[in-house]
Symmetry: C2
Subunit: 340 residues, 2 copies
DNA sequence: GGGGTTAATGCAATCGATTGCAATTAGCAA
DNA sequence: TTGCTAATTGCAATCGATTGCATTAACCCC
């Protein structure tokens, strides 16, 4: 296998070796019905033996597609932070699986997105057959404009006015509602909301938070709504400052599990007991949620599954068909320690 | 900008528009010294105006390179699990940054690696200018064979006999030593070691663990060495089973922070106090380590920096130069709760 | 054996960008 | 104006794979 005269690196090499034209080899490797069964087998065996794989750049050039899908994480631009939230990793895993199953490659776009204009001109977008955006950041308008430039794309996020792209997302209103309802049922009445409100997903969760109060005619104080940055470092300093001011809440609804973990840590620091003094509910149900101390009560989003849905929708678009929006279910997961 | 007659999608289009040959346009966009300064400016402005970017597939085909680097995470093959450890995400972020700085794209290889043979034939490897392996898995031999196939590659991991690839890694022996020494200094004498021993990195850490005992002439019992799978789900069941058997240790050195978190959770479940009854030290210093409850004492690896080093070494190789192996420092980070 | 079909293969253009070499133009000195 | 050099630009081949069309071979039926 290793001592074959010269390196086989193109269809032509293989064709010469087999004594046929490169057209024939191409058809054989692509299972064209035009080709004789025996020739096909012979050539496929030969290709395998010489460890030959088609040059995707050439193939892509000819066919005008690349079998590459880009993934772009839209982060809070104020934190020039990388994604540190395991949510992103789990999502990436789900997307990677979905793409692998359909024989697509995954190109990861550089983390801090420049302007959407630059992004539109970047290789990540031009070179790919389609793009998956995870989160809408604060650029929902620009995202809609991208659609007009004939970019195949799907977005993970939440409904927002003027949207023109295909949207996949969790049931954020329902999730916010369930989290809050759970705490209300436990008798908590001063429930804080922790999250970055500029994200459409979080404002949907906030809507659910309000509805839950309304549903049982409980008052819902604006003073308990706190704008917390998404990355942990800033989150924890902000939370510490809030705790200093003795806000007097007996529960917190957080917009992510890592934020909940940071909050619990800040609470324990100053001797506040979770959940007896303050109950905390997270969001996402990242894997760690079940293993941290205390274990987290949280809103479960099936993240790997979501990744698969994103991929399926995008591939539908790439096929030239229409893909419909989807809202995936979110459910409350009660674990004994943090939230009850 | 939007109402330009037809879409400019190739050099030829742009050349026609400007009334020059496509050779000229190509040279202008690539800052060739052959081109007249005025023409260059004019053509570059035109390209920008029409939002034109070169087709990378064509360019790559011609130049025989792709400006793509693949990243492969070598996971414990027994868990057909995705990477859930934030370590991977932080590493990925570091690598992504390094690549972006040099204008390379990042291709993420599908997570559960098939055989190395298949991998060698995959697009992820063939289509890329180079490959970064994170971890050696249990395939160190196969990795060395890949080098012989003219694959530009660097590997994050630990020294191992018969290695022929460029290696970048943390100081695992030193890290294992420091973690253990810290616990010994606190007076602990029955220190358990938790980790998957088939990974070269972990066995290096184990070596450090043993040396620390030897250094102060403390006995080091084999019965306190436990083989724990890398993924959290299996890790926690295994740890629970171990605790059932009342092994009687007063400290644990873990080979990752998530494992430490899982261990702490299992300990609290049955009422064992951390760190008073059992002290725990993690490894990696993932971002969460500072925010979990209790905060983790751990061995810090500067993961984003490591990502940058991996990239630099790989690009050196791609340039045809020799890249040297590097061992990056690991230092103990003491946080008050878990390990002291 | 002639004529008509069908199956299998080859030929050559094509995708878009780069680059060695040839050709053109300009500039300048005599 | 002529001749020579240097500065620009154009021509055309090339990278590797795909595919419409032409061609060849094989086979069948009278």
């Amino acid at each position: 296998m290793s001592k074959s005269g010269k390196r086989i690196s193109s269809l032509q090499d293989l064709a010469d070796l087999a004594g046929v034209s490169r057209a024939t080899v191409s058809r054989a490797l692509n299972d064209s019905p035009l080709i004789n069964e025996k020739t096909r087998k012979r050539l496929q065996a030969l290709a395998r033996k010489h460890n030959y794989t088609v040059n995707q750049q050439a193939r892509g050039l000819r066919l005008n597609r690349s079998r590459v899908v880009s993934v772009v994480f839209m982060l809070d631009p104020r934190s020039d932070q990388h994604p540190s939230d395991p949510f992103f990793l789990e999502m990436l895993g789900g997307i990677a699986d979905g793409l692998a199953a359909h024989d697509y490659d995954l190109l990861l776009a550089p983390a801090p997105i420049p302007s959407i204009q630059e992004l539109a001109a970047s290789r990540a977008v031009r070179h790919a057959d389609g793009v998956i955006f995870v989160g809408q950041g604060e650029e929902h308008k620009a995202l809609s404009e991208l659609v007009d430039q004939d970019v195949n794309m799907v977005v993970w996020g939440s409904e927002i006015a003027g949207r023109r792209y295909t949207l996949i997302g969790g049931d954020n209103v329902g999730g916010g509602f369930a989290a809050t309802q759970h705490l209300l049922e436990l008798g908590r009445r001063r429930i804080a909301f922790f999250g970055n409100m500029r994200s459409p997903e979080n404002s949907a969760r906030y809507t659910g938070y309000q509805s839950a109060h309304v549903a049982i005619k409980a008052p819902c104080e604006m003073s308990l709504t706190f704008d917390i940055p998404a990355d942990m470092q800033h989150a924890q300093t902000t939370i510490r400052a809030i705790l200093q001011s003795q806000p007097g809440f007996d529960a917190i609804v957080c917009t992510s599990d890592v934020m909940a973990i940071a909050a619990i840590s800040a609470l324990s620091e100053i001797g506040i007991k979770v959940p007896s003094d303050v109950a905390v509910v997270g969001y996402d149900d990242i894997l760690l949620a079940g293993y941290s101390t205390p274990t987290l009560t949280t809103i479960r989003q099936n993240i790997p599954y979501a990744g698969g849905v994103l991929v399926d929708s995008l591939l539908t678009l790439i096929d030239g068909k229409k893909a419909s929006d989807r809202i995936l279910g979110s459910e409350l997961v009660v674990r004994k320690s943090s939230g009850a």
